[in-house]
Each structure stands twice: as C-alpha cells, then as structure tokens.
Symmetry: D2
Subunit: 260 residues, 4 copies
Amino acid sequence: MTQPKPSKPKPRVGLVGFGRTGKAVASVILQNKGFSLEWVLRQSLLLENRQVHEYLGVKSKEPGRIISTVHTTPAELLDRHPVDIIIDFSSRSGIHTYGEVAAERGVTIISAISHYRDEDIALLHRLAERTVTFWSPNITLGVNYLLFAAKSLKKIVPWVDIQIIEEHFKGKEGVSGTAVKIAESLKLEKSVINSVRAGGIVGKHEIVFGFPYQTVRLVHESISREAFGNGVVFVAENLEGKPAGFYTFESILMPYFASN
Amino acid sequence: MTQPKPSKPKPRVGLVGFGRTGKAVASVILQNKGFSLEWVLRQSLLLENRQVHEYLGVKSKEPGRIISTVHTTPAELLDRHPVDIIIDFSSRSGIHTYGEVAAERGVTIISAISHYRDEDIALLHRLAERTVTFWSPNITLGVNYLLFAAKSLKKIVPWVDIQIIEEHFKGKEGVSGTAVKIAESLKLEKSVINSVRAGGIVGKHEIVFGFPYQTVRLVHESISREAFGNGVVFVAENLEGKPAGFYTFESILMPYFASN
Amino acid sequence: MTQPKPSKPKPRVGLVGFGRTGKAVASVILQNKGFSLEWVLRQSLLLENRQVHEYLGVKSKEPGRIISTVHTTPAELLDRHPVDIIIDFSSRSGIHTYGEVAAERGVTIISAISHYRDEDIALLHRLAERTVTFWSPNITLGVNYLLFAAKSLKKIVPWVDIQIIEEHFKGKEGVSGTAVKIAESLKLEKSVINSVRAGGIVGKHEIVFGFPYQTVRLVHESISREAFGNGVVFVAENLEGKPAGFYTFESILMPYFASN
Amino acid sequence: MTQPKPSKPKPRVGLVGFGRTGKAVASVILQNKGFSLEWVLRQSLLLENRQVHEYLGVKSKEPGRIISTVHTTPAELLDRHPVDIIIDFSSRSGIHTYGEVAAERGVTIISAISHYRDEDIALLHRLAERTVTFWSPNITLGVNYLLFAAKSLKKIVPWVDIQIIEEHFKGKEGVSGTAVKIAESLKLEKSVINSVRAGGIVGKHEIVFGFPYQTVRLVHESISREAFGNGVVFVAENLEGKPAGFYTFESILMPYFASN
C-alpha cells in the first residue's frame, strides 16, 4: 500500500461487479492514490452514467464511470476506456464475458470470485498463458496470511492438535467457506470446525494449535468488507511487472516468508 | 517429535542445570523415546548419586545420573559417560566450563540461557566453528514460531500497526523478556508493549496487527514449563546430521516456511 | 426490545441531536415497532423539512420530521408535535434549552451526553423532581452490564487483581472514557488501564480478574454505533410506568440481578 | 479470603476424599491462616498416619492427620478429633457414611461432589434441616460467578443469542459438565455448546452474548485445580454464622449482586 512515485503513470483499473462488496472495493480504490478507477461494469442499468465517487460520496477526480453490460461489450469498453487491470467481484460467469478480450490486450486479471466451478478455473489457466491472471476465493490479506502461517506451523509440528472456531452473525447459514478452506488447506476433517452464530458478529476465524504445554492461536477478525479492497490493492501492487502466468495469494506471500 | 527408527541408536543427552526449568526439561526428555538422558550436571551436592527418574517420579530405564560439579569436571564426565548432545539450562557461566571440552569431542551444544553477555555469545560462535552450536534465549516452539510469523507479516505489510499485550502472574517484575524480544525483532519501540499483571496467569503473549478493516492476532499461551522440554526435543531433532555451525531457532524454522 | 401489545398507543419519541451517533440511534428507533419517531431537533438548517427515514434510506411510516432550532423553540415544538420521551444525543447545552419545558409537560428525559459538568447534572436532578429523568454517559447495554457485573465481582472478592485492556482504532486519542469510567467504578487507579491503538478496531473493553488459580474476563466488543440505539430502546422500555425521579443504568439493571 | 482476627478460634476442618483434587484443596487449606486442617479421611490405607503437610511438602503446624475409613468410623473420628466443617471431595457415597453423624453434631457440610443422584440430594436436604449444608457440583468461584452473571444478562435481554465455547485438553471425553450446567441454567439446548479439544488446555469456558451491534463475552480460564480450594475457603467464610439450611453457590452470591 505504498504509493508509486509521481513520475510513473498510475495503473488504470476496471471493476466488474458492483454489489455490496464491489462497492466497498471501489471505495478503497478511489481513495488509494496508486491506482485510477476508470470504470465499473455491471449488469444492472441502474446508476448508468453516474460516477462511482459521486454515488459513494467519496472525493476523487478519477473517471469511475458506471457502465452497464446492456449497452456495452467488454471489447468495446476496453477499446474506448483501456485499463491495465480488471478486478472481478461479479459472479462465476463474469470471466467468460471479458476474459478473452482482456487476455488479448494483456490486461491483468484479478478475480475474487468464491464459487468457481472446474470449467471456470480451467479458463483462468488458459488465460494465464497470455496474461497475468490471479485468483483468490477470499481476497483479504489477513485470511490468506493466516492460511499460509497455519500451513507452515502444521509442517513444523505435524502432530499438533488443530481446531478451528469461526464466529459470524446469527443469520449466516452453513459453515463459513473460509473455515472450510482453512481446514482443507491443513488436510483436516470439517469436524474440526466449530461454528458460533450470534448477533451481529461481522466475522472471526480462530485457528487453535494445542501443544502439550502451550497453545498458539492465529486469529482473524473482520471489521468491514472494505478489507477486500485492501486485499485487491495489495495483490495488484505485488503483481506489477510479473510475467504472464497463474498466481494465487500463496504464490504472492511465499517470498515474504522465505527470506525472513 | 517423531520417534527415530528402532535400529538407530538413540542420541545420548547430558543436561547442565537442574533448577525448576531444568527439572521440567529432564522430565520431558525422560518420557521421549527418541533420546536417552545420560546425566544431569549441577553445582549443588544435593541429590548427588540419585537418579532423575526416581527423583521426579517418572518411569524410565535411562541412566539419568545426578552429578555435581564439585566432584567431577566436564572433561571427566564426557569421557566416562559420553553424550551426543549437551543441553544447557544452567546460567551464563555454564558454557565457559563445558564448552571447550564439548567442542573438542564434537558434542552438539543446545543452550537455552536467557541472559548471555556479548563475551558469552562470542564464545558460542568460536565453538560453532568446531561443533553444532545452538542458542535460543526462549526455547519454546510456540514463542519462536510467533516471532517468525510476526516478522513475515511485518515484511508483507510494513505499514501495519503492531501492538503487544503480555499477561503474567501478579508478582512478575518488569516487562516480559519475551515481549521485549518480540518488539526488538519487529523493530518497534518498547512502548508498544502492554503488561498485564494479575493473579496466577502463567504467561500469555499476544501480537495485535491492526489493519484498517481487519485485525490479525498471534497469541501464545504457556501452560507449564515443560514447554521448554518440547522445544529442546524439537531443536535436537532438527539439528541431527547438520554440519558444525551456529544455529538459532529462526534458522531451524526458515525451511518450513520457505517451501509451503 | 419486546414489542408492546397492539392495543396500547406507541410512545412518541423526539430526538435532540443528529450527529453520527444521533443518526444511528434514529435508524434503530425507526426500525423498532414499539416506538414512533416524531421528530429530530438539531441546530443546523441542513436537511430541514426532510424526513429521517427518507434521509437514512429506511422504510417507515413514522413522521420523523427534521426540525432546526433556528426556526422553532422546544416549547413550540412540544406543543405542536407532542412526544412522550425526549432522547438527547446533542451536547451538554441541550438540556438547558428543552429541559424545563419537557419537565413541565411530564415528558420523560433520556440523556446520553458524555461530558456534563456539575451544573448540568444539578439541573437534571431538579428536573427529576417533576419527571422521569435518566442519564448515562455511555448508553450501550453491554458496557453498563459489564460495569455492574464487574462491581459485583469486586464486592465478592475485594482482593482480586483487576486489570483493564481497551482497544480502539489508531487515531483515538487519550485513554477510553469508558475504561476510565470502569476503573473509577471499581475504585482503581487509572494505571490499571492498558490502551491498545491499532488499525480500525471499533472498540473493545476487557476487564481481567486474576485469581491465584483461575482468571475471569468480562469482554465487550462494539460492532457499530447502532448499539447506542438499542441501549436507548432498552432504557425507554424499562422506564415506562416509573414515577418521576432520577434514574441511571445501574438503577435499571439492579432488579435483574437481585432476583436471579 | 480475608483472615479472621487472631482472638477468634479458627474453624477446624475435616476433608473427606484425597484424590488429585482433594490434595490440591488440602494444600490450599493448609496455607490459609483462617482455617485449621484437622484430618483427611480416605478409603485407602496408603499414607495412613502420615501428615498432609509433610506429604505435600507444605510448611504448616496444623495436625492434618491422614486417616483411613478401614480403621475408623466417621462417628469415632468426629468424637476423637472434632471439626466445625466437613468438606467432601470423595464420591457420591461419602455423604451416606458421615452425613448423619455430622448433622447430629451440628458440623457444617460442604459437598463438592459432581455426580449426585436424586436420592443423595434428598439426603442432603434432610441433613439441612439440622445443620448448614452446602452443595455445588463445581465449587470454583469463577465458574459460579459466570453462571450467575450469565443468568442475570439473559434476564435483562431474553432475546439475545447465546453460544458457549469450552476448551479442554485433547483427551477429555464428552462435553464439559460445567458447559452443560451453564446451558441448563440458561435454559438452552446443548447444541449451543462448542467443544474444542486440543493439546494440554487446562480448561476454558466462554459464554458469547451476541447483540445486533455489540458482543459480550464472559470467560473463565482454569489454571490449576487449586482453584477448587479457594472456592471451598470462600464458601466456608460465607457460611459462617448462618442458620441450618440448604445452601448453594447461587444463594451465597445473590446478596453481592443485589446491593451493588
């Protein structure tokens, strides 16, 4: 989240998807001086031709055009308003509409879609042969750090007892997808997950490592969905200058751990 | 803490220092099938010629002789009852008595002394030219993992706010040495440390990483001082087969993080 | 937060003050079916004649007129749009403008002003001779429950070690007023308070009770300032039918503890 | 845990049961200057005629005779070595052996047996007609405080979401009895309990109260079983001077909450 030097042109960003998380991400990008938000592409016609910063009540001079897929194809959009990076918070079908035309133009793709199917991921890998392609089903820095740190600890002490406690608001159904991801990464049964549902808890994940005579806890607490925006900015900064290829949060974090 | 295969002879261990922590460490080594406790060397004449397992009420067939420095020099001891590893929980002067004779015989040195001065550390480095020499001022696995994981996170996000909360029993004087070590490793002022003193809390260290929209906490809770014994066993296992040189907990943990 | 039976008319509420907390409180009252928000009184002319629910984007049929003190006196307002309860989130001067005319009309006063001076509190006590008058410098249910529960525990074990940890966002200056209030209630020095400042932490207060062989922790975590609205609703429900007098959160909570 | 004035004779205590918890309780009583440990009664002949303080390595001038039920009946014991209080950490059958003869002599009975059946409790109630009779299945102060404080909070906000997290060492089978007791007291299904089993965690109980915009947590952490001893001392001090009757921890704590 350091700012690029003034002489360098800011990377231009296009955002696909403008739901609750998309809006929070747009707000973070608008307020980050290292990137310029060119446009937001969404299916709905609502808000068309308004500007993101005006709609969100954020001060900014960036274009931030709100554009509907009803009147514009991704190819037209990329030609008229070129960007360096596309950030995808839409749905699993998004990549099928803009993926090819983005790869053709060498636009970096950062996808934060949680529920891709195998065929979607296969497409991502094909695009990765031509452009920098990144995917993370949970793009917050904190959760990905936890994942990496937890895997390292399990490698150090494979015999340690590991349990997961996740807490969310009363209405959240099913086990947290992030908790399931953590359990899978650690090759643990889902039964290690304890799900607490109460009131308005935004989101908390705690990984408990039980040693015979000591306990280590790795804890992540969400405050608001703007955290996804910070994750996007971190990823975009770390992908800069990288060659075409498929990247994950783990591949980005690895070098930081390797050279302590 | 995996057990060596039966065909391989167990590494023989000598323990220098038999205070409260030394006793807890001896108890853990006696109960670990991968090592054999040959003797304990201490200054006091008390308990001389008794056996550690009998004194501690632990079942074991290992020799575990309790020997006083009053009647035996380290050289005599190493000749009469050779060991592969010396573990030092005595005081800063210990290394000056057994260091040379251990290095001559290629005995691995694992020192857990907290308060070495510069000249002591210089000696360790000289010994490291001839034998495997390890030093950690806090030899629990959990605390060292926390240190490493925290340094990695700070490298990832150098701008993040970091605060430390340490909790100990009412009578503990001054700021926790481990908390100071954590602060120093992270290049933070000591003012980031909050010291809570209440009742019989054994020991808790929490590193709080404050992001704008999320919080990460790394927490270590001590249950009992046997944790030092488990740390020693982990270190001894990881030093096996290594060439002469100076090792720290960080150099042992690094490879686990590097190849996630 | 139980809903009154349909036959009973809803208590009518007037809100004085429409800053960030005032807005959150208005939002909670609008969504609570047990009360009707008649008006909001504020100094600014901005938003005058708009409706609270329309401004906040909340569905509601309640009047919720936004009225400025520039054009209307409290007496005129209470005559034209009578209410049963006035809720004060303005500033310490508010009570001096509406207090007398509210007391004359038997309107319940619920004040959540943090920084009253002695003369303001004296006025509250005079008003309490004629109408139900309530004051709490922190009107969340959770914090007040903590205060009460902590005082009880200290009475049970006066010798227990008590420490307070409060965590807030990086920019928060000084020690948390709520933490100071807790320390004062427990007759402890301010030195027992540990203040952690990091990132975007909304607000956390933890009271640690250290016993020789066990630890009790009372923890309050704020999620958002709507918590003040829920506190107001709780207080309003519990003051219903009470005789004129001066009430605090403690006097409201006491009966719940006394008859377990 | 205040000490009685020197002029008053110390209450004399007899302890029934000398397992791991009984020993920890004996150690606490020996070190408390307000009580005198007269004897320990146990079934085993082991240790007979030794003294508790000598066996436990605690400095004390109190008799602390270790007596076996094989050679002595409770009636003989109470006549030869009279006590004011009997503390029971034996098993559910204990009360059937000493109950009658203790009640006849007006000896206060403090029972900490977890698994009484209905007929045992019925006996306690009959004894309570003649002497002060106390029973708590978990006699730590912290857990009982938590129970009381949690019940009060539920009375205040019956609609709040409540969840329980309990953590214990890996080997502990089944759901914690204390957690079940908490759930029952709060009239909640057992499904609100989340059981974490990992490493050597001594024991932690956390009751989470989820409000829409805030969270309250009541947490109890066990450090060691000496906590039961402190609970016994607290109960004994609070029962002093009370008339015959049946007492629980709740009836002892109530007055502390009622008069804040």
